[in-house]
Point group: C2
Chain length 297, copies 2
């Protein structure tokens, strides 16, 4: 196939970062926005955007990066063909809503290229509720399913299964939430994958923002907030203990503040916090501890 | 040398757990105490004690365990002589004070034995202030130095250096705090090491509790609490990303709630939180980012 133009991909990712930031600002008009441009000593750089507001969004990060340079040994090990130079570009998004009934959202889209002639796309999106609203899970998965169905290169069902298996806290025997899709090493039919990647990224707004809109003003009590903070502890545990991207970044000298921008703004760890049987909290736990469900036919 | 009696060590560790819990209850009289007896499916068990109070101690854990069974593959890999059965017993202590000016405290004492005739002690103690009081660091290190000086098998200076190097957050280029001592694989002169281990454990109370007593009622403002919660984020990052004991436990199916009892009760992650130059917060950062200091001659 024709070789993709990486700088075109980078420009598109950067414009997507701007659009997604605006989508969040639409729902959080008085948000404080931190924009941090940074350079990577070994090559490239990025733009970290942190949004936090008095309203719907306690903290969100919409981060763009386009880095290049000598292939880190840890990356080289995982590749079939040895390379000496690599480039990676992508956007990662995380939203930690203020309201305990609104789910956290994570997504990323990424492109990699090495001087060994190897190029691939990766990405995914997943939803992490503190309280289970089945209609939210159906809405989210419905949008992911729809964008996958529009592209021959996409496979919702196997990517949904990969997401369930990736976002798993082995030490808790819990999945992180109600999943989504996860794909990696998409290296065939790159032009088709790139078309999918753009469509996928653009569909994230409709997949998530209406859910946040629906839940952001739900009345809640201190016990709901406490449960949200406890569940955010699981989120921090997943990112710091299991997430391959986070660990790879921290262990290879990535930009710590950008990598850890995914961590929740406030977290509680409480010993042996067990919800009452039959409570909404117990229902969420049963959902993330049981076998993954189908959310769309 | 004579073979040590593991059940005697276990009994002593359990009595030490009780004494240290009481020392904390002396300073936090109205503390709520959770006592959780647990069994390990593959052999042995433990007693997790969680203390939290309205006063000095926001959360403390004083955990005893005595486990045995088939040697986990991950442990076996790290040993010179292959073994099929192992036993491990120990007490681990963590104190997260309520007052931002009072430092967090961690210590553990451990004994291991395999059926390949291999036995060793390990342990350590370290202090993690949010604000640097040099006299606290000197008091703490002074006690550790004194107990080491009483025993030929102990070496304060190399164990102090090992502690500085172990409690290091590579991704932050920060040490966790002002250090202490860290020792592992003490396998020669076991009777002498056991005598040291008991003296070391008993000295922890005087090494730490007077500091907590001194700082617990210091007046503080919301900005001090915020800094405490940010520094606790580093503590969580260290334990979840770098601490070998925590990761070993989580990856080999240890008892999650006991292992993660070390995590702070409440944590904040704030993007790019940089203290003002010349502030007490900046002084702490300079201390943990600069070369380790000598606290006792």
């Amino acid at each position: 196939m024709t070789r993709l133009d990486r700088s075109e991909i980078e420009r598109w990712f950067q414009s997507f970062q701007a659009r997604f930031t605006e989508a969040l600002q639409d729902i959080e008009e008085q948000a404080e926005l931190i924009v941090d441009l940074w350079e990577r000593p070994d090559g490239g750089g990025g733009e970290t955007r942190i949004l936090s507001g008095p309203g719907a969004i306690e903290k969100a990060a919409v981060n763009f990066s386009a880095v290049h340079g000598p292939t880190p040994p840890r990356l080289s090990e995982s590749l079939a063909a040895k390379s000496t130079e690599f480039a990676a570009t992508g956007v990662s998004i995380i939203v930690h809503p203020a309201n305990p009934f609104a789910p956290a959202f994570h997504a990323n889209v990424r492109f990699f290229e090495t001087d060994a002639g190897h190029a691939w796309f990766a990405g995914g999106a997943d939803l992490t509720p503190n309280y289970l609203f089945e209609e939210d899970a159906r809405h989210f998965h419905g949008h992911l399913r729809a964008v996958c169905d529009r592209h021959d290169v996409a496979d919702y069902h196997s990517w949904k299964a990969a997401c369930d298996s990736y976002f798993y806290l082995e030490h808790r025997h819990e999945r992180r939430g109600v999943g989504g899709v996860f794909f990696d090493h998409l290296q065939d039919e790159l032009a088709g994958v790139w078309a999918f990647q753009q469509d996928f990224a653009e569909s994230l707004r409709d997949a998530y923002v209406p859910i946040l809109e629906e839940r952001k003003d739900t009345p809640f009590a201190p016990n709901h907030r406490r449960w949200q903070l406890i569940r955010r502890g699981r989120y921090a545990e997943f990112n710091l203990v299991w997430d391959r991207g986070t660990r790879f970044g921290l262990e290879t000298g990535g930009r710590t503040e950008s990598i850890l921008a995914s961590l929740p703004p406030a977290v509680v760890w409480e010993y042996g916090a067990e919800p009452d049987p039959d409570s909404p909290e117990a229902r969420l736990l049963a959902e993330v501890s049981g076998p993954p469900r189908s959310w769309v036919s």
